[in-house]
Symmetry: D2
Amino acid sequence: MYAQSLDGFPDVRVRAVCDLNHQAAQKVADEFGLAPFTDHRTMLEQTELDAVIVATPDFAHREAAVDAAASGAHLLIEKPLATTAEDCAAISDAVQRAGVQCMVGFENRWNPAIRRIHDLSASGELGDVLTQNILLSNTYYVPTTMIPWAAKSSPAWFLMSHTVDAAVWVADKRVTSVFASGSRGRLAELGVDTWDVVHALLAFDDGTTANLTSTWVLPDSSPSVVDFQYKAVGTKSAVDVDLQDHGIRHAGEAYKWPGLLGGEIDGRLQGPPTWMVQSFVSRLNAGEPVGPGLDQGVLVTDIVLAVLESLRTGEVTPINRRPAG
Amino acid sequence: MYAQSLDGFPDVRVRAVCDLNHQAAQKVADEFGLAPFTDHRTMLEQTELDAVIVATPDFAHREAAVDAAASGAHLLIEKPLATTAEDCAAISDAVQRAGVQCMVGFENRWNPAIRRIHDLSASGELGDVLTQNILLSNTYYVPTTMIPWAAKSSPAWFLMSHTVDAAVWVADKRVTSVFASGSRGRLAELGVDTWDVVHALLAFDDGTTANLTSTWVLPDSSPSVVDFQYKAVGTKSAVDVDLQDHGIRHAGEAYKWPGLLGGEIDGRLQGPPTWMVQSFVSRLNAGEPVGPGLDQGVLVTDIVLAVLESLRTGEVTPINRRPAG
Amino acid sequence: MYAQSLDGFPDVRVRAVCDLNHQAAQKVADEFGLAPFTDHRTMLEQTELDAVIVATPDFAHREAAVDAAASGAHLLIEKPLATTAEDCAAISDAVQRAGVQCMVGFENRWNPAIRRIHDLSASGELGDVLTQNILLSNTYYVPTTMIPWAAKSSPAWFLMSHTVDAAVWVADKRVTSVFASGSRGRLAELGVDTWDVVHALLAFDDGTTANLTSTWVLPDSSPSVVDFQYKAVGTKSAVDVDLQDHGIRHAGEAYKWPGLLGGEIDGRLQGPPTWMVQSFVSRLNAGEPVGPGLDQGVLVTDIVLAVLESLRTGEVTPINRRPAG
Amino acid sequence: MYAQSLDGFPDVRVRAVCDLNHQAAQKVADEFGLAPFTDHRTMLEQTELDAVIVATPDFAHREAAVDAAASGAHLLIEKPLATTAEDCAAISDAVQRAGVQCMVGFENRWNPAIRRIHDLSASGELGDVLTQNILLSNTYYVPTTMIPWAAKSSPAWFLMSHTVDAAVWVADKRVTSVFASGSRGRLAELGVDTWDVVHALLAFDDGTTANLTSTWVLPDSSPSVVDFQYKAVGTKSAVDVDLQDHGIRHAGEAYKWPGLLGGEIDGRLQGPPTWMVQSFVSRLNAGEPVGPGLDQGVLVTDIVLAVLESLRTGEVTPINRRPAG
């Protein structure tokens, strides 16, 4: 998808693809004329790369990111940056030592609906943001079929890393503590031993709040694989967003919402992840800072770790880190 | 509204109305041919009443309820039953001593949408209810204009008493603890010193959860005075309900959702509170138990008190009471 | 359904049921304690009836209606009144000769959404109604499974009789001509030889319009058996109504909108047809005129006949009749 | 907007802008570094242009288009191509004589929702398209404030040219006749003497239909300046699209739907008209045919002319032209 997004984009050439699975690498290589690799170190040694996109599973970013940074390549790392504080520190160290740029792929920053909420806040139209209710959930399809490593992840890592980032970006305040609750058992019965449901209440430094919910147990008869609802209430106005029901409803084999974003428009891929990777390239070429950056990536991982700790302890977990710019 | 709901209903006669404000009492009395009173004890002494509806402000139910029960009248008390544990105990004692029936007016039990959610749960179609997200909020109009006693109430009392009742009714499980967060300051600036926003995470005895939010700070440009969203996810299916957008949108002076329920249909009032009071009367006449009853009323008050305690302490508050049948 | 709607309703007793199918008659008779008949003349002779409800298929109202009127019974006849001008005339004659009252069962008059549109018009809030777009369609289920006599009916008779009535009621203007277009072939392939799609443009005497569409070819994966959309634009305001999506969405075996109206609320049936038959009874008991009456029934049949004539000729068909009061 | 859309786009340079109003031309020229002109012939003589975008009012395309074609420039002409058959012929002649390419700016071809409907049809997922109901209307703001030349246009030209194009593109069938109705008077009272409401029933050569409505009399309190609803029913599936309610609702000064498409994403303009003009440029650069082309432009103008003729005569108007490829 990234290769396709950059195909024909000005002033960039995609050179290589690396996948532990040789066939997967070869397939992408053939389609876009790239060099295929199964070992990222070999790729970094044999190819001159200005930038590398790290798109391994959530928990497996560290090695590729550290090595790519050490080779002098700028980084685009998919969200979450990492799933342990140690991995975050290792990646941060490598990036700072190499003096490269690092963007964390919070692709919802390029989702027009999320941008709209952010812009309403940043422009002052919302006024002071008093609270946000953000629900981002998936049907069973995602943990049981789409991602093979779901048992090593959770709605907290896979989904809440998006909504934590959005809540902080929109509120533009410092998170001071987190309380979380949730349950597990249903997915475990289906062979995926992780959380079914996670709720998290974030407290900001001015006493205001955000309320996040993510589940992985929506029925597969839902009209969309994703349910994404966002309400932000400010002192001056409020915004209420259904990020999945874009008004297109197709009654075919089943009743589905195909969505308005993504896909090709007249042969050119469009949509949030496409616009994100194009921004990464344009800004590098222009010598501009890319973002959201490491600080935000580390902050979001810290908060998700606090969510998981609160789930375990049943108590409020403080957050000490300062927010990203 | 209750008088109108019972006007022409079989086998019932509304006899008297009591309001501290004489003019208000007289107006209703004139419209429906009732005897007007400004003191409830005088009314109870001078009128033979089989049943009394207590519709005073939330915090002022006790005296009227206790005296009416003592007079031998069955009771319909608006929700919440009371706002202190002491008032709950006093009303409970009076009801038990008098051997009368007591219904607590959780009118959403007669809201077809809430009933539908409940029936999907009770029939087994939802399967085990894994979580519920219930948001019930109002525009500024309610705390600043509609109810003069808003500073003595809060989104927790006025709104969450509805959603706590619904969450427990739908889940049919025992609440073991509550964690709440929220903020205040915006309404205080407007002269109503109470909570702007309240979030509450309920934990049930099987480890599952419910997530409740109520705010009193929605913009008055909202298409409805009430925002009421309900999601319940079960192991077998899920239901997602917008209780305010019934598909009727009127672009007049402003853009409004007039709603589908309530109002007169061919001269006869219909809607949840009407059906509730008619149920109260029909069941009393049939010698059947009325409900939801005292136990549920006391439970909901206990949980809202725990929400307020958690708001104050910042800690998880346990709930010890057993659920109502 | 009518028997259930009147069960326990004050001052009415349902006495008898007649169905050509003896088992069907017996079943209803057993459930509600009625006398069962298979011949309506026998029923009319052997039972003293103040009023009769005619609920035969659309094209088979005449004989029952004429005989019941001749017996001195008031009539509630399901819409459309009849499907030929001759049947309309015969029923009208019988009713006038007998001096009984006749209500035509346009049940949408008791649908809160349609009433809302009408009330916005009647109260002047819409201003002069400039145009209406009304779409009322069904999934294949209705013509292929639900009604065995679909090939003798059409979207024009089964659906547009509702929307023609509503358009005239809301606009409160005289229809002067109709142009219709449509297509057939798809249902014929499925063994039901009737129109798939019917569009009708009504012209009112002041030059304003209404645009009606009804189809019987919506996919069965649709979230509701009925699709009903209503837009009315007036000089002062406009109203846009989705009559099927009441905000309740259930993701079960399939994704469905269960709807907010109808069904039992605490053991008592509620909803448009229930309220309609209760109005019929209440008004007869009160000595008040029932309605909508014969004039409106005849007018709607005239307009639907003109729709079918226009479909056949491809030309504009004039309407000469005056509107009902 | 076109200048901004091409700013930074590869392999294109915007050179000049022409506007009868010198200040308007100068403003755009300053912003994007262009040469400003007030006379298009002067611009064509003094500037070497590979392509010209004609964005004059609907009725004023001919002169600029003919002259630009004669100068050897490829054309992008905003829809409708022209508002008379003579203008269509003149532009067609000029284009053919010059051997240039001509694209007609039916920008909805780049609207993801319309594309989705088209793709569902073209891929066979809809099956044979049995009917389409397309409603595209504006609030009063458009005819009374936004476009100064509204009295010379109408909902038929300004809005239905979009929906006629879409209906034909999606159905991929030949239109054989049109019947239209509508009314005027309300806008005339406001000083804009044109049609308030236009309905058009299109008949295709296989007997199937499309039903189009456009009005210019929606209240300004509507949540969007545009109301755009599209239903297409095929033999295999159906699609129901609300093109304006993208799920983003902002309760600010008024209640509005800001929409999901358009606007800048990270400094780069996105949205249908942007993607359209970028397609025009990319295809010209690649030596590929641009489209939709002259044939479609002429066809749509023919059909809108037939709509207006039917409005005048009250009769069905035949269409003789063959459809575009």
